[in-house]
Amino acid sequence: MLTLIGFEALAIAIPFMGSSSATSLFMSVLEYMVLAYSINLLTGFTGYVDFGHVVFFGIGAYATAVMVQSFHALGVNPYVFSIAGGLMASLFALILGAPILKIRGAYFAIATLGVSEAVSVIISNTPALGGSYGMPLAAYVKYDLTSAYLSMWILLLAAMAVTLYVANSKFGYGLRAIREDEDAAEVMGVNTRLYKVAAYVLSAFFAGVAGGIFGIVTAYIDTGGYFSVSKTVEMLVAMMLGGYGTLLGPLIGGFVLSLLEYTTVVYIANLHLLVFGVILILLVLFLPEGIVGVLRRRTRLVG
């Protein structure tokens, strides 16, 4: 734990040491971590595999962009608007949750994939949201990596705090009971429908805020970049790699995976997705519990 705190202190200090290259690298590390925490709140705790989780990232980005365009004149730090992005994502999850969370197993995964594709197509046909042109934001916001970086840190800490709370609360016990056996959970008094929707709404919020923050950083939002299926997969793999349904899994998985991606992109260009695919297969075949699972098993054997 001590080393972890040391690492965090180091990471927070990065933007103040003047290397924006390192800052932006850590931005993407943070993005992976936050998104892994986000999908972990749903998939990790309830076992519902969300293949369309990127829809919340995208909705958050678009909602934030609309807020920025409408209210940039207020002069507040634009990253504040990303909260609205998160709320919009949550609202969408609330509306969608009741019908879609009735669907179980692989069908849920496919349905969420369908939802995210449909939303993406609908947005790119909505002129008010830029349609095919996407939404450029450079005219409204200054490029401010430090604010973005701090926002991501706040978001990560919030996601960790919420995960910590959920893991140790009545709510979290209920969610894990749903993951283990939904029917048994219901009979034991867990209001499964309410709990599932609540987890969905909560997890959507973090993806939504992250989408908003990145929308502002990249200064341009389009459906191609913000609704891509591969982003969902990155979230899932980061969560799986760390160990799903755990407190530290997303942190570790997000860290390892983002550095892995960065390294492959910089040093073995073009092979990065191939390497990802191979890792994914090996992970499922040989390390289904993730890094945290292995560590835990080790310690149990030792202790």
Binding site: K170, G174, R176, A177, E186, G189
Partner: protein
């Protein structure tokens, strides 16, 4: 010992497609009573449990619990009113620890605790009562059968039920383990003052522990009474041993 009625099922009918699983059964359970529910495979015992706990909605009849009509309420609501149950095939939350399994019972049952800290006391009590305290930190999936059965009961007890439905909790146990389990069920009644319905095939045990026995066959109640009355009932013997069928034959 029966001081009033806690559960009253009236003319319950449950169909699956064309199949009638329950054809209008009525069962009453008194407070602090142990009721044995027996009958051949497919006679509707587990379906009856599922109707009482709200997993299935009956096509006809009413379920009255503590004077309130609970027919058609969702399972979690019924559980919170004070009906706990175990499953025929144990359904422990296998990846979770024994303590966490019991914790879920304590959090979501009647007077469910607000958070795990508040529930901890109940959990410890129940683990003690069911003899699982020593295994509290083990993963539930790693328990052996008798322990899994006990865990099922512990989880149900932690929800502080007033009525406990036990579905074949003795299946697969050795005679010694059965005796232990029976002792435990008696102590539940004594210490927690709850009523129990036991679906059971191990007849020796049911006859031994029940205050009263209800016999189902093919979705109907065919007998009701004290253990000895039921054991000498011709209809029951036929249902179990199969009537010595004579005559008829092929055309």
């Amino acid at each position: 010992m029966a001081t009033g009625i806690i559960l009253e099922a009236k003319d319950v009918v449950k169909r699956f497609g064309g199949l009638e699983a329950l054809r209008g059964v009525s069962v009453e359970v008194g407070r602090e009573e142990i009721l044995g529910l027996v009958g051949p495979n497919g006679s509707g015992k587990t379906v009856f449990f599922n109707v009482v706990t709200g997993v299935y909605k009956p096509e006809g009849g009413r379920i009255i619990f503590k004077g309130r009509d609970i027919t058609g309420l969702p399972p979690h609501a019924i559980a919170r009113m004070g009906i706990g149950r175990t499953f025929q095939v144990p359904k422990p939350f296998s990846a979770m620890s024994v303590r966490d399994n019991v914790m879920i019972g304590a959090l979501f049952g009647k007077h469910g605790a607000k958070n795990p800290y508040e529930a901890a006391k109940v959990v410890d009590e129940v683990l003690e009562l069911t003899g699982l305290a020593g295994k509290a930190d083990l993963q539930a999936g790693l328990l052996n059968v008798p322990e899994k059965r006990r865990l099922e009961m512990a989880r149900a007890l932690a929800s502080r039920p007033e009525l406990l439905l036990l579905d074949e909790v003795l299946a697969g146990l050795t005679p010694t383990e059965i005796d232990e389990a029976l002792g435990m069920i008696r102590s539940f009644r004594k210490e927690l003052g709850l009523a129990v319905i036991m679906v059971e095939h191990v007849m020796r045990a049911v006859m031994n522990i029940s205050d009263r026995i209800v016999v189902f066959n093919a979705g109907r109640k065919i007998a009701e009474g004290s253990p000895s009355e039921v054991a000498n009932d011709q209809a029951v013997i036929e249902a179990y041993l199969g009537a010595p069928i004579t005559g008829g034959g092929r055309e």
